[in-house]
Symmetry: C2
Subunit: 649 residues, 2 copies
């Protein structure tokens, strides 16, 4: 058979081709009631200056994205960006004053949050170097380590790794296999991987760039185990070769983040001097004795692990930035792309005018705002609880990390679908955002594990609260809680379907609280029953009630997020902006209630009629938010050079 | 500062390193009550022989996966695989008998479904060539086109494109801009792209390999428009250069499917002979007159588009295969990976023993089975409705395509998270499965658009049903429906919480039907009100009630899926396998009801107590399915060479 190949002839009855004029239709932008710059000021907060200087830097030509497929080249590019950022002294923001730093974590997180509008490989590379590597030296080490390592770590001169996760142990850090045996004759620790599964895994900077690693290992002194401690172990010479006794393997191609050189590391009897143990919480003395001010192996472990909190805050903040990028792209596209429409209309309808499309994007816009304000609260909290009970902080950091990263995954997915085929093209960046953030839900603590931690902490709080009570007090306490729950279930809350009521923050917060407290007492009762009646141990009891724990954790975090949002609005002066935020808060509250309507109905806290009214109210709020959608995403303040997606510019 | 680089010394007090023995722990496999081979026979069905020969071929060394990043090389690799498959004569299975084919679409789909266990780039490349390109010539063309093109298209000798989607028009095919003007003097059509947005977009085979394209364009004869028709237009010479008047641009890097050469095509007054119009449903005569047996432009259009049905079936089938691959990887990993555990236990617990992990995987396993059986029904239906009313077929094909591809996206996402960091490594293939299938939800008809089509078709069915009735009959019809709904809501259905009742298919199916019929009549009433009371036109009315339409479409497809599953079980002889499938069907039915519990509660169809009982029953079913989980995924029969993920082998 021959392919039909008659020459195509040009005929000139028709206008010539104009197909190379690739102008996108304009983005509809004139419909909002507020100035996005004003809202941006609110989002930028007190750290507007560092945000602006970061933006100024990352919009320079040298920060243009790399679109190729050469992994080696990509890693070099990301390393170059990282060093360029580090050189500016950003690392110093968070360093201790003793080594010339500012000790200003909130400012540092603001910088990170802004940097996350760029290629996420950069923020992960920076996070490994500054947050995990330098950060753990700072938080687990003492003056000796600070002086010796921090300045070079912060400037990117000394590239390092954070060697916690092992092949055999992802989330269960207490089960690590790597050993650090104190060797008296040489006054050193011998770091050793007893087998394949003891290899440190997914370690950023391991495959190419890292020269020094913070290694978490089971400390053994005089034949006695003292649990997991951290040690500084050199892994590469200055020329880049692995040192004797160190075996490094590249993790190879990943779903995303291929500009970051993750790898595996094994140690074969590698010796490090005693001083290289990070000894803030425990140390081995010159006499070869183990000592720690913290009694109990588990408590010591959790104190050390507690220093992961700021990492989780940063992860959550950067994940929310990624969701903002995707939402900006999808919303602007929806305000320019037309498809189908009334036969009577002059042009097809904007995607954003379809209720189904509004339903996809508007609640997500409201939610990233809600999560942004919750993050600001978490960052504040982190500043105030340096001493005292840190459990509420750990709980909120773990829970927000989980809820935000899941929300980011879901948001980017919906944005991809909302952009159709355009969303699938690399040039529009949603694919990269999705692939690079996908790991967020399982790293720095698997989300499902973290949410259980949240719930267990809440149960511990409850236990502490009732611990000191006499039996009669306890009965009254539970009765009060019951009565409180019943009181909160007043008939208005269950049946009133007027808009003024549905948009009343008192109603919304009460409903979120009801769900949380009901879940808390249900989990408490279940735990008590499993322990006392079914004679299970704590581990088995918690394993048995995982669903209840996850329900509780979600209810707690959602309630916290809503309360912070509602509080912010309550304290604002009347202004057009306040109305805009109030609408977003209503949409967040009611769309979450809609998602959880099964629970409310099941527990008799909503009538069927009211549940349906909430759905209609969400529809209405989506219509109300729609004219402001583009300005709302504009207020995220993402530079065009970072957004880069042609469909959004 | 100097990096600490003292030489690490080996000391020999400890056992030497054994870290290179990378043995994974065994996959726990001895817990099921049935032989997966027997279940596989049921899944393979009558087409076991073609499935086996496809497996035999694609497990040859030449089909080993490509893990590199060189896109040009990857495309060549995929093209090579495709040609190798095409050479075996697989294309002939579906060709008309007149050109030596078998006309056996079900067998062809079985082959496709099996091929989708391999790299999905291969199936998409094959789908473009055989399904879209050859398929449209077959379905829209006549004997002349069949004889001239089909043998070479089926063997991969003549590579081709399917030029429907345009830059300006994704889902709205009736709005295409490309024109085909009949030019009397040369007895030809002039194919022309009047502007940038008229370019054909995301066209598979366009960027590198395609030589002939099926081009959909607005036909104009003697100055009169006749709507969208298809034409065969050569686009490349035998040496691979674009022909004069044809401009081709590579779509560039994508989120996934980078082994497929998608591109954009513009035509500048390209002339093709009159015979190259695909003229099964309409043609231009030698006298230059337009004629068609189908009256009405819209009807003609939908007849042509109706031929997309088999493409949607294939897409759905291959998407379900991808979900099976991901579930096999995640389930096997969960049956070998241990993490945390009771302090009293000898070893940590298997992931699969955690209720939260069972909750992630088991309902998804049940659902892919349910969808598999529904697909088999759809394929049968497609064979029986070649004449007569094809609306139910189109409805089911559109709906199952949407529901299955969404389920695949969600399933792979959950599987990625269930595998933690391992799931993120390219070598374990979940990343590729996710990226390659992501576009499924928006191509071959955007899912949201398709679900609206489903709902509109159901409303049309309803309208047809009541059309001939006199007013009194109509009143009685609606009253009957109402009474039927009330009858189905018998108190047992609302309140009975015994296990025997919850697992009664009669109860389950009745509840799914109740939801569908309620949604149907609600949508019907809403439409009637919007048209009659609010005076909206059809377009505006449908746009206004998108949420209701989507609810209806989901309810309809879910009910259909459950009914097919329940029917299959009812017709099986008693056997251990029947019990296994019954459990999966219960899990599917009850976990879907749990997902939709908000609706049931809202409509008073479930009591709160019963809703909670359903949740507990889902927990219980997950526990019951857990020991069989590995054998269930084994029964998918995915060859190890295709699965490839080290964590699953």
């Amino acid at each position: 058979m021959k392919v039909m190949l008659e020459k195509s002839l040009s005929v000139d009855e028709r206008p010539g081709p104009v197909f190379m004029e690739r102008t996108y239709p304009p983005i509809e932008r004139n419909t909002a009631t507020f100035d996005p710059k004003v809202l941006q000021l609110l989002l930028d907060g007190v750290h507007v200056e560092i945000r602006n200087s970061v933006k100024q830097l990352m919009t320079q030509p040298e920060f243009r994205y790399y679109y190729g497929n050469d992994i080696a080249l990509y890693r070099k590019k990301v390393l170059g960006w990282m060093k360029r950022i580090a050189e500016t002294g950003i690392g110093r923001i968070v360093l201790p004053r003793s080594v010339g730093g500012e000790e200003d974590l909130p400012r540092f997180i603001a910088a990170f949050e802004t940097l996350a509008f760029h290629d996420l490989n950069l923020i992960i590379k920076l996070g490994v170097q500054l947050g995990l590597f330098a950060g753990s030296i700072q938080r687990l080490g003492t003056e000796y380590h600070h002086q010796k390592y921090l300045p070079d770590a912060a400037s990117g001169t000394l590239m390092g790794c954070f060697g916690m996760t092992e092949i055999g142990h992802g989330s269960n850090v207490q089960g690590l296999e790597t050993t650090a045996v104190y060797h008296r004759p040489s006054d050193s620790f011998i770091i050793h991987s007893p087998g394949y599964t003891a290899g440190k895994n997914y370690i950023g900077n391991a495959a190419d760039d890292g020269r020094l690693a913070v290694v978490f290992a089971q400390l053994e002194v005089n034949g006695k185990r003292h649990g997991v401690h951290a040690f500084l172990v050199p892994i590469r010479s200055e020329n880049g070769d692995p040192l004797p006794g160190v075996t490094i393997e590249d993790n190879g191609l990943k779903m995303g983040l291929n500009g970051v050189d993750n790898g595996r590391i094994w140690f074969d009897q590698v010796k490090v001097p005693r001083a290289e143990m990070l000894n803030r919480f425990a140390e081995v003395t010159a006499e070869g004795q183990y000592q720690s001010e913290i009694q109990g192996q588990a408590e010591r472990f959790f104190t050390m692990i507690g220093t992961l909190v700021s990492g989780r805050i940063s992860i959550a903040a950067t994940a929310n930035s990624a969701a903002k990028s995707a939402l900006t792209i999808a919303t602007r596209y929806a305000a320019r792309r037309r498809q189908f429409g009334s036969p009577k209309a002059i042009q097809e309808s904007l995607l954003l005018d379809y209720p189904a499309h509004q339903r996809k994007l508007c609640p997500l816009i409201a939610k990233v705002f809600a999560l942004d304000f919750a993050l600001k609260h978490l960052i504040d909290l982190n500043e105030t609880v340096h001493s005292g009970n840190s459990r509420p902080l750990e709980t909120l950091a773990a829970g927000l990390k989980a809820v935000i990263t899941w929300n980011t995954t879901q948001t980017i997915q919906i944005c991809r679908e909302a952009c159709g085929g355009e969303g699938y093209l690399a040039v529009n960046r949603i694919g990269a955002l999705k692939a690079d953030t996908d790991i967020y839900t399982t790293f720095e603590g698997d989300n499902t594990v973290l949410m259980q931690l949240v719930a267990k902490n809440l149960l511990s709080e409850l236990k502490d609260e009732i611990k000191g009570m006499r039996p009669a007090q306890r009965v009254r306490f539970f009765l009060d809680q019951r009565l409180g729950a019943i009181a909160r279930r007043n008939p208005r809350f269950t049946f009133d379907i007027r808009q003024s009521h549905l948009r009343d923050p008192e109603f919304q917060v009460a409903m979120f609280r009801l769900r949380e407290s009901t879940a808390l007492f249900a989990a408490g009762r279940a735990f008590h029953r499993l322990i006392c009646k079914n004679q299970l141990d704590h581990y088995a009891a918690f394993a048995h009630m995982q669903r209840e724990l996850l329900d509780l954790a979600h209810a707690h975090i959602e309630r916290t997020v809503l309360e912070r949002f509602a509080l912010l609005i309550r304290t604002m002066q009347p202004s057009p902006l306040k109305l805009v935020l109030k609408r977003l808060c209503d949409l967040f509250a009611l769309s979450q209630m809609e998602l959880n309507k099964g629970w409310y109905l099941e527990h008799g806290a909503l009538s069927g009629l009211k549940s349906k009214a909430i759905t209609k109210q969400v529809d209405k709020l989506c219509r109300e938010v729609r004219p402001e959608a583009v300005q709302l995403v504009d207020s995220f303040g993402i530079p065009d050079a970072c957004l880069a997606a042609p469909i959004a510019l």
